[in-house]
C-alpha cells in the first residue's frame, strides 16, 4: 500500500484545460474521495493517477516513485470502472485471474488466490458463470475481485456505484467501505454524489472547473467550506447565502446586515465591499425575539425535521427546524444564527474569509 502525492498536475486537451495545476496528498490507507459536478476534472485526475491519461505537466508520486509519464501497466494499481468493464469473453474466474496471468503466476497459485478473493467477496458460487448474465451487484463484486486479487499499491474507482439501482447502492457502499477497512488499502474514489463522499470518505477533494476547491476531512469541508462553490455543492439543502455590502475589520466579530448586527467568528483578514454571509440551514433558529427578520414562504416536511423557506432583506433563506415546531406560512419571524458556525465569503472570488474558526482547515486549490 502506498501514499499518493499529486504535485501541480495539469491536463490539457487541445485548447481545453481539464485539470488546472492541482496538488494534494493521499495518505497510506486512506479512503479518499474526488468529488465534484460532471466535467469538473475529477475523473481526468483519477485517470492521470492510474496512467490512463498522461499529465500535460506536474508530478504524480505513488509510494515515493514518480510515475507521471509511466504507462498504467507499470504502476501496479487497480481500477474499478463505472461500467465495470468485465471482459465479456471470459467467465468470472477468467476475469478475476486475468491480472495474475499478466504477472506470469502459476495456475495452481492463481486458483488459490482467486478462491481466496471469491471467499472475501462471497462469489464462490458464480466463479464459473459467464459475466454476461450477472446482476449489477455481482458484476460489481467481480470487478472488485479483479482489483484486489493482486494486492496493488492502490485502488482507483470511477463512480463504481453509478450503474447500480438506488436501493442497491446503499448496500454496496457499505460493502465497499467494509472491504476497504479490511484491506487497509489506499483507495481513491470518484463521485459526484456528495452524500456518498461524506458517508464513505476519510478525506475529500472537492473540484470544480478543473480546480481543487478544497481538500480535507468531510466534517471540516461541511462545516468550513473554503469557497462558495463548496458551500453550495455540499449539503442538502445547501448553505444559505446572504449577500450584503459592508465590511468586517481584522480581529472583529460582527457584520451588519440590513442594519442588524450579526455575530460571526473572529475575523483574521478583514474585508470590505461585497460580502456574503454563509450559514447552514440547521444553524438557523426561528426566534420571534431575534432582530433579523424574515417572512415564511413555505415549509417542507421531512420526517424528523422540516425545511422552512423564508424571505429576508438579503435573499431567500432555508432553515432546518424540528418538525414539531408549528410554522405558519406568511408569518413574520426573527432568525437567529448560530454565531460559531458562520462563514463570511468575499463575493468576487467566492473565497471564505479566514477567521479563528476556519483558519486551520482552509486550503484553496
Amino acid at each position: 500500500m502506498a501514499q499518493i502525492r499529486i504535485e501541480n498536475v495539469r491536463k490539457e486537451f487541445g485548447a481545453f484545460t481539464a485539470v488546472q495545476s492541482s496538488s494534494f496528498t493521499i495518505e497510506d490507507g486512506e479512503f479518499f474521495m474526488l468529488l465534484g459536478p460532471s466535467g469538473c476534472g475529477k475523473t481526468t485526475t483519477l485517470r492521470m493517477m492510474a496512467g490512463l491519461e498522461l499529465p500535460t505537466s506536474g508530478q504524480i508520486y505513488i509510494d515515493g516513485e514518480e510515475v507521471g509519464q509511466k504507462p498504467a501497466s507499470q504502476r501496479d494499481i487497480a481500477f474499478v470502472f463505472q461500467m465495470f468493464a468485465l471482459y465479456p469473453h471470459m467467465n468470472v474466474r477468467g476475469n478475476i485471474s486475468y491480472p495474475l496471468k499478466s504477472q506470469g503466476m502459476g495456475a495452481s497459485q492463481i486458483k488459490a488466490k482467486v478462491g481466496e478473493v471469491a471467499e472475501i467477496l462471497g462469489i464462490t458460487d458464480i466463479l464459473d458463470r459467464p459475466v454476461g448474465g450477472l446482476s449489477g451487484g455481482d458484476r460489481q463484486r467481480v470487478a472488485l475481485g479483479r482489483a484486489i486479487v493482486r494486492d496493488p499499491k492502490a485502488f482507483f474507482m470511477d463512480e463504481p456505484l453509478g450503474a447500480l439501482d438506488a436501493e442497491f447502492r446503499e448496500h454496496m457502499s457499505e460493502e465497499l467501505r467494509a472491504l476497504h477497512d479490511r484491506m487497509e488499502a489506499t483507495t481513491v474514489y470518484v463521485t459526484h454524489d456528495q452524500l456518498e463522499a461524506m458517508q464513505m470518505g476519510d478525506k475529500i477533494v472537492v473540484m470544480n472547473h478543473g480546480v481543487v476547491e478544497q481538500f480535507g476531512v468531510p466534517q471540516d469541508i461541511y462545516d468550513w467550506p473554503a469557497t462558495k462553490f463548496v458551500a453550495q455543492f455540499i449539503g442538502s439543502p445547501p448553505m444559505n447565502f446572504l449577500d450584503f455590502n459592508g465590511m468586517i475589520g481584522a480581529g472583529h466579530n460582527e457584520v451588519r446586515l440590513n442594519e442588524v448586527s450579526i455575530r460571526v467568528p473572529d475575523s483574521i483578514d478583514g474585508a470590505n465591499g461585497k460580502l456574503t454571509l454563509g450559514v447552514r440551514p440547521e444553524h438557523i433558529r426561528l426566534d420571534d425575539g431575534a432582530p433579523y427578520r424574515g417572512r415564511v414562504l413555505a415549509t417542507e416536511y421531512l420526517g424528523t425535521t422540516q425545511i422552512v423557506t423564508l424571505d429576508t432583506a438579503n435573499g431567500m433563506v432555508k432553515a432546518r427546524v424540528p418538525s414539531s415546531d408549528k410554522i405558519r406560512v406568511g408569518a413574520a419571524t426573527g432568525l437567529a444564527f448560530d454565531e460559531r458556525t458562520i462563514t463570511v465569503f468575499e463575493n468576487d472570488h467566492g473565497h471564505a474569509l479566514r477567521s479563528q474558526a476556519n483558519e486551520g482547515v482552509l486550503t484553496h486549490g
Binding site: 492510474a50 501497466s73 501496479d76 461500467m83 468485465l86 491480472p99 493482486r150
Partner: protein, 312 residues
C-alpha cells in the same frame, strides 16, 4: 387483453411463408440449373425443350479437368482400351485425353489471390480501423473521407493506369500484383466496416487490460480482437466475395501464371464447340469455397445479429 400491431395472423404467416419460399426458389433456380447442367451430357445440355430429368453424366467434369484432341476412328482404335473411367468418357465423345487442363491451376490461383488479399485486407483494415477508432489521428476525418472516396468510382475506371503501373513494376500476371490490387480495392470497405465494429467496443475493456498489467498490443490482441471477431468475420466475407468473383481486372491483368478462375471459365467455351456441361461444372466448383467459408464463419455472423442486444 391487448394485441401488438405486428402480431401475425395465420393468414399473414402463410402469405409471408409463400413469399419467402417463392423468393428462395427464384433465387436458387439458376443455381440448381447450373449444378444440374454440370451433370448433363453435351446434347442434353442444349436440348429443346430443356430437360429437367436426364441421365447424369460426368462428361462436363471430365472435359473441365482434361485437355483433349478430337480423334479419328483409326486413332481411337490405335489407342487401345480406355484405362480409366474418365478415359472412357472421353473416348465416347470421340476424343483422346492429352493431359490435365489448366482449370486446377486457375482455381488454385483464385484461392491464393482471394484468400491472400482477404487476409492482407483484414490485417491492414483492423490495424487502421483500431487506430482511427482509438487514437487522436491528425486529420482523422479527412483521411477517413479520403479512404471512402477511393470507392466512389468503379475501380475498373482506372484499369488502364493500373495496367500501365503494373507493367512498369513488373506486377502484370503475378499473384502479388493481384493480391495488392484486390486489397487496395477492398481496404476502404474493410476500414470503414471494422471501425464501426471497433467503435462499438467500450474502450474500458482495453483500459482494464492496461491496468491489469498488459501492454497496449496485448490489450488489442487479447481483448479487442476477440470482441471484434464478429465484425472481422463479416468483413472478411465481403472482401473474399469481391476478390473471388472479380472478373474485369483478372481478364485485363492476368493471362497465364496468375490467371484466376473467372476469366478462365469462359475460355472453355472456345475449345471444340460450346461445351456447356464443362462450363457449368467449372462454375459449380467455383461456388464452393465462398460457400464453405461463409458457413464456417456463420457462427460469428449469427452472434453479430444478437450481439448488441445483450451487451449492457
Amino acid at each position: 387483453m391487448s394485441f401488438s400491431v405486428t402480431e401475425p395472423t395465420k393468414g399473414t404467416k402463410w402469405f409471408a411463408g409463400v413469399l419467402v419460399v417463392g423468393y428462395a426458389l427464384i433465387t436458387i433456380a439458376p443455381l440448381l440449373w447450373i449444378i444440374a447442367t454440370g451433370f448433363k451430357s453435351g446434347p442434353d445440355s442444349i436440348a429443346y425443350p430443356p430437360k429437367v430429368f436426364f441421365e447424369p453424366s460426368m462428361e462436363g467434369y471430365v472435359n473441365l479437368f482434361t485437355d483433349r484432341t478430337r480423334a479419328t476412328q483409326d486413332m481411337l482404335e490405335a489407342a487401345g482400351e480406355p484405362k480409366t473411367w474418365y478415359d472412357k468418357i472421353a473416348r465416347e465423345q470421340g476424343t483422346i485425353i492429352n493431359g490435365p487442363s489448366r482449370y486446377g491451376e486457375r482455381f488454385l490461383n483464385s484461392v491464393i489471390i482471394g484468400f491472400g488479399s482477404t487476409a492482407l485486407c483484414m490485417i491492414l483494415g483492423t490495424a487502421a480501423a483500431y487506430a482511427f477508432s482509438r487514437f487522436r489521428v491528425p486529420l482523422k476525418d479527412d483521411l477517413l473521407f479520403f479512404i471512402l472516396s477511393t470507392r466512389m468510382m468503379p475501380p475498373i475506371a482506372v484499369a488502364i493506369p493500373i495496367f500501365l503501373m503494373f507493367r512498369q513494376l513488373g506486377l502484370n500476371d503475378t499473384h502479388l500484383g493481384m493480391i495488392l490490387l484486390y486489397t487496395a480495392v477492398n481496404l476502404s470497405l474493410s476500414v470503414w466496416l471494422l471501425k464501426g465494429f471497433i467503435d462499438e467496443i467500450p474502450i474500458e475493456y482495453e483500459e482494464a487490460a492496461l491496468i491489469d498489467g498488459y501492454t497496449r498490443f496485448q490489450a488489442f490482441y487479447k481483448v479487442v480482437l476477440p470482441q471484434a471477431a464478429t465484425g472481422i468475420a463479416s468483413t472478411a466475407i465481403f472482401c473474399l466475395i469481391f476478390a473471388w468473383n472479380e472478373y474485369a481486372f483478372a481478364v485485363l491483368l492476368t493471362s497465364g501464371t496468375a490467371q484466376t478462375a473467372p476469366p478462365f471459365i469462359p475460355t472453355i467455351i472456345g475449345v471444340g464447340g460450346k461445351d456447356w456441361p464443362a462450363v457449368a461444372a467449372g462454375a459449380t466448383i467455383f461456388l464452393l469455397p465462398v460457400m464453405v467459408f461463409t458457413i464456417l464463419l456463420r457462427k460469428h455472423l449469427l452472434r453479430g445479429i444478437t450481439f448488441g442486444a445483450v451487451r449492457k
